[in-house]
């Protein structure tokens, strides 16, 4: 079963395999290799969400999210970040994605459900803004690694103050 965090009915996947994947993902983000990061997603069904800070469990079809990207939106988000026209990230901020407390918490159909804690530090104009929260992943095992079906970054912050924006990939 998935709940023990070591093996899973989806092919004896270990937590270490998941951690390796998440740590590699974090490295891509911190290196601004966003095209490579985008390739981690399921090309058609992938999605990326950040709920509002006051409504972590809201329905994106009916309530306000900070980010609710399907693949079309995520692709343009990445293109915009790399285009130089996203002034909030030009020049690029420095980031440090810290991922911990990784757990395999279950499965949903063909997907592995994974939770992890994060602290992402964003450094820019000599400010340091910590983005703190939990990741909720739906991962599809594929060719010995994973494709991201859903990536949900739920902020524990009560407000984006003084951060002001989520202009990069948290």
């Amino acid at each position: 079963m998935a709940a023990d965090g070591h093996t899973d009915a989806l092919g004896a996947i270990t937590r270490q395999q998941v951690e390796d994947f998440l740590f590699a993902e974090a490295d891509l983000l911190d290196s601004w290799k966003l095209a490579e990061w985008l390739a981690l997603f399921d090309e058609e069904r992938g999605s990326f969400f950040i709920p509002s800070t006051d409504l972590p469990d809201g329905d994106p079809n009916n309530s306000l999210y900070l980010i609710a990207d399907d693949m079309t939106r995520l692709r343009t988000r990445v293109e915009q970040l790399l285009s130089g026209l996203t002034w909030a990230e030009n020049p690029k901020s420095r980031t440090n994605h810290m991922v911990s407390n990784v757990r395999i918490v279950g499965r949903e159909g063909e997907a592995l459900l994974v939770k992890a804690n994060f602290v992402v530090f964003r450094m820019r104009f000599e400010n340091v803004d910590p983005y703190i929260g939990k990741y909720h992943y739906k991962l599809l095992p594929k060719d010995g690694t994973f494709k991201i079906l859903e990536r949900r970054a739920v902020l524990d912050l009560e407000a984006l103050r003084p951060h002001g924006k989520v202009s990069f990939i948290v």
Binding site: T53, N62, T76, L85, W87, A88, E89, A159, L160
Partner: protein, 434 residues
């Protein structure tokens, strides 16, 4: 002396010569910031929230307005109250939740004083210890001096002697009503609570600035719209809000202003192109309802919206996205912002989803445009460290009736003229137009 060319000299306003300059000390000076608190925020009708956030008796929300912690509560006697969230005994917050429902009382945990949801003090542990001078009935939670509910929009004022809401709003009421006539409106759940390391007046300017859109938000036109299958050409032909609408910026009295007063020849907003594409049938059905309710011409105005407008001093309504936004400074170089989406309750699920997708395509801390506004205004604030050497900002575009060369800046001058009158005389500006 011409109105605007005042003794304090913070604004250089010469209508004859076409000069309008703002002294950059207004963005950094702590004394001016204190004057603003006293003469602007404490003497205005301020937007506090929407009734849809606490629709039923026993529902409440807590929120800071002009620096004060408030409880907005739907009381059990049918009254909407704005209570100052501080125990009359020794000061502790009596309500420490962001929102709730089914409330029967607010209890201060410090010494156990209990208030009912009308704010009346109902319980004082060990009340016998007090003398006869102790007047429990006079020790209810203090209400904000003035409150007004305009069709679900809750406004408050900390000035007990302020003029009536209707007098204060002037011609802005018609514009607000144009926005509210889209349907039975609600603030959808989920709120943008963010900030900028910038002076609050920069966000007033920016929220109505048509000139910056093509530059700051280039990526919205060149990337987002094409990604949605809407060509850049379409977007430019129809025009971003404020752009290509020269001449229809209209002062609404008392510092309120709209950048695009509804008019029959107003270009379609790109929001309409978007909704047509992603929820066309539902939008058609919705339009028919609007026409039945209001007639064709009014329905067009309502759907098209009044553009980006300011209810002085700090409520911004952006009809193209159905944004409500308000913000307060806690210092000259920092503000806290609250943003909402105000949408019709009767939307079908698909139309609601399309409206939200449009909203997130531009608005908010994770949108495809707002972060660049934050960046730009924070950059301005950094630039103002030079205010002793570079003293003035120029806000004269479009003066002397000049409509060539794209969007003007009259909407900002209207704000600044009222701001200047408040700061220097404590009164409204008699006239804020060019």
């Amino acid at each position: 002396m011409r109105e605007g060319s005042n003794t304090a000299g913070l604004i250089n306003d010469d209508r004859e010569e076409g000069i309008f300059r703002v002294h950059r000390s207004v963005f950094v000076d702590r004394e001016i910031f204190e004057l603003e608190r006293k003469l602007v925020f404490d003497r205005s009708w301020l937007f506090a929230g929407h009734l849809s956030e606490f629709p039923n008796p026993g529902d409440f929300i807590t929120r800071h307005v002009a620096g004060r912690p408030l409880i907005l509560v739907n009381s059990d006697d049918g009254e909407i109250r704005a209570l100052l969230n501080t125990c009359r005994h020794r000061g502790n917050l009596v309500c420490r939740e962001q929102k709730g429902s089914g409330a029967e009382h607010f209890r201060c945990f410090y010494h156990g004083w209990i208030y009912n949801i009308r704010g009346e003090l109902k319980g004082v542990p060990g009340e016998e210890a007090y003398s006869d001078a102790f007047d429990r009935e006079a020790l209810g939670l203090e209400p904000v001096p003035r409150i007004h509910n305009h069709r679900g929009l809750i406004f408050v004022s900390f000035d007990p002697d302020i003029e009536s809401f209707a007098s204060y709003m002037g011609d802005a009421i018609a514009v607000i009503d144009n926005t509210l006539d889209l349907g039975e409106m609600e603030f959808v759940q989920g709120q943008f609570k963010y900030s900028m390391r910038a002076n609050w007046k920069l966000l007033v300017e920016n929220s109505m600035d048509g000139y910056h859109a093509a530059f700051t938000h280039e990526r919205f036109a060149t990337h987002f719209m094409p990604a949605m299958g809407l060509t850049e050409v379409d977007f430019m032909r129809r025009g971003p809000p404020g752009a290509r609408r020269g001449g229809d910026t209209r002062p609404l009295g008392n510092g309120h202003v709209t950048g695009a007063y509804p008019s029959p020849d107003q270009p379609m907003h790109p929001s309409i192109t978007f909704l047509e594409k992603f929820a066309g049938d539902e939008l058609d059905a919705y339009r028919q309802k609007l026409v039945r309710r209001h007639g064709q011409e009014r329905a067009n105005f309502i759907e098209g919206g009044a553009g980006n407008y300011l209810i002085f001093p700090n409520l911004i309504i952006i009809d193209g996205w159905r944004v409500f936004r308000t913000f307060y400074p806690s210092s000259p170089d920092y503000m806290e912002i609250n943003g909402w989406a105000c949408l019709p309750k009767e939307d079908t699920p698909r139309l609601r989803k399309a409206r939200l997708e449009w909203y997130l395509g531009f608005q908010g801390p994770g949108g495809f445009a707002t972060p660049d506004d934050v960046e730009g205004l924070e950059g301005c604030q950094m630039g103002f460290a030079t205010h002793k050497e570079v003293e003035w900002s120029d806000i004269s575009r479009g003066m002397k009736g000049n409509t060539a060369g794209g969007p003007g800046e009259l909407q900002m001058r209207v704000f600044w003229r009222e701001w200047n009158a408040r700061i220097t005389t404590g009164q409204h500006a008699p006239y804020t137009g060019d």
